[in-house]
Chain length 369, copies 2
Amino acid sequence: MAVKKPSIREVAAYAGVSTATVSNVFSGRKPVNDELKKSVLEAAEHLGYQIDRAASQLRSGRTRIIAVLVPDLTDTFFATIVSRLETQAFAEGYDVIVASSHDDPSVESSRLKALLSWKPAGLIAVPCSSSIPAELIEIEKTLPMVLVDRVASEGAIADTVTIDNREAGQIAARHLLEHGHRDIVIAVSDLDYPPIFERAEGAAGLIAQRTGARPVTLRLGTNMEAGAGIFSDWMDRNTAPGAVIALTNVTTLSVLSALAERRIAIPDRTSIVAFDDYAWMAARNTGLTAIRQPVDQLAETAWKRLQLRMDMGMEAPAEPSVLNASLVVRDSVRDVDSRKPHPVGNNAPDTALPGEGLLTTSRQGKNIH
Amino acid sequence: MAVKKPSIREVAAYAGVSTATVSNVFSGRKPVNDELKKSVLEAAEHLGYQIDRAASQLRSGRTRIIAVLVPDLTDTFFATIVSRLETQAFAEGYDVIVASSHDDPSVESSRLKALLSWKPAGLIAVPCSSSIPAELIEIEKTLPMVLVDRVASEGAIADTVTIDNREAGQIAARHLLEHGHRDIVIAVSDLDYPPIFERAEGAAGLIAQRTGARPVTLRLGTNMEAGAGIFSDWMDRNTAPGAVIALTNVTTLSVLSALAERRIAIPDRTSIVAFDDYAWMAARNTGLTAIRQPVDQLAETAWKRLQLRMDMGMEAPAEPSVLNASLVVRDSVRDVDSRKPHPVGNNAPDTALPGEGLLTTSRQGKNIH
DNA sequence: CTGAAAGCGCTAACAG
DNA sequence: CTGTTAGCGCTTTCAG
């Protein structure tokens, strides 16, 4: 029933101390005698006192807000990142304000403005396109911020956290090559996204090096059904490829959808390496072999960097963090040539095909790091 | 370089008006002469002025914050709701603070407290369990709030938005019955969640009415792999059922996973009706017939109700909104008895099996409302 | 270590 | 319609 909320003053009066002491008890910015502290806490408890963030923020200029901007909350990849960030931030006493740009630069810019008007303590953003918005560049000097995923790791204007996308592409390509595949199509969403471009480069480069020709790269866009149509049309004009590397979650769906519609058997007729590892990929008759991004680790790294940046201030140079993707082997890639299945390098395998890795096993598939 | 942010006063000075006028221009709470308004806007633009939310909030006591609490951001269903809410709220000048309870009541309660300390203008919550947290009951009288999904629609303490879960269960059951299925297993996550309980009730009731026996109900929990194990174990002790109704996104995955592991053909050996309609369900050789919840509509309804509540105040009685799920027909249900395929009712089909509906078609499947 | 007092930037109330 | 003025609740000097 207590409609009226107690302020710091009533707590101070009740505890028989000054407002400054109460403030210090709650903010912890100055030490307070244990006895006093206890009576303040009791008074607060008794009155049901809760600090008023607005007032606190206005006076101190500081905030416990972390702004998070992603292209699309509906995408499990981004949602997972937000979820982890939320958990971490909360544990450290921060609250998270989310905004989604819906992959639209103009929305992104207006959401960004709204986010910044909170004067957040930090910003974690997944920009929606390669061109980092002008807003970000401008505020970069004054606001701790880290950019995740949709950025080129070199030449970044701020701290970045990404996976080694080139390597990720190579892992997929190498897996296919090692299984004797040569007729490989690379399915991408949009080459304007730096990670996609790099994945495509990594995969195409390795394939070219082995086969002497760059593979076909198909742009399927970011809409599953449209992408399925594009891939289907392409198959009309050509034949179904021996294998496809899908460099994105939705391109994976597009490819599967088009393949299913045409009753093309996986992996018997065409093999597939998917991107991003989701639960549904295991819940099929032929589980999907996929490149897994370490999503949780991505989020944790971003959070740690942001904390560092908030502590260090803006002087320290921007630094990129690059994590590694791994391959989860299931059943969607077949052996083309059973005579010499594995080693693909002719004479110097390790120099030709860099990045050998750990091999572990899980219930869901073999995990090759 | 403008490290120092301009306040309302500099804008006022620059535009040659008073601070109150500037305030009115930005808040729109009082009309301002067009000419003055223009010069204020120009001044603001010129100085790069941005309203300080903390100060505004402190003074006015009002806030443009909507608190959103969900059990799990990682679940596409909830993420979609959050995403829609975020969009809607932003369009009306609100910002969204999200919190995830990770399906843990104690986390829920502490997150709730944090959320409330923002003194949000409204709260939209998907509680994590049936027992609505005491905090919510307490604040219900003072804070506009709407509860979504995880609530019983009757006896609610606040505005609620749900689907007709009983009907949803019936739709699934009826579809199977109409295709001649009798050996039906219902796979649920946890019967403590009211929506799940109601879906199970709806399905089981209809099946019992038709077959004279209540179907087996299996509790697979909320973890996909564990659920697959449970279902697999059950099949060890019995045989694979003729059909299964999976009442949840993750139970669907559990069931598929267990079936795939045992190479049980869908729908030839066992048919399946899934819950929640996701992209991957269409991107398979045998597309999944599924109950689709109108997620977007759920979010929009919740937002509209909240707005209403924010306008009306707390006096108006709490009101439940109930939306309808629909059936998306794909290929995972087979005709058991091809002689008399469709009508299941013996003599009075419509009274025995309520809820006939619209029938539309989409690229992805036939959509029976 | 604690208390007194001065605002942070804004909006509400009221007077013009 | 616009200007003046008085705080919102807190944190922060600065003295004690």
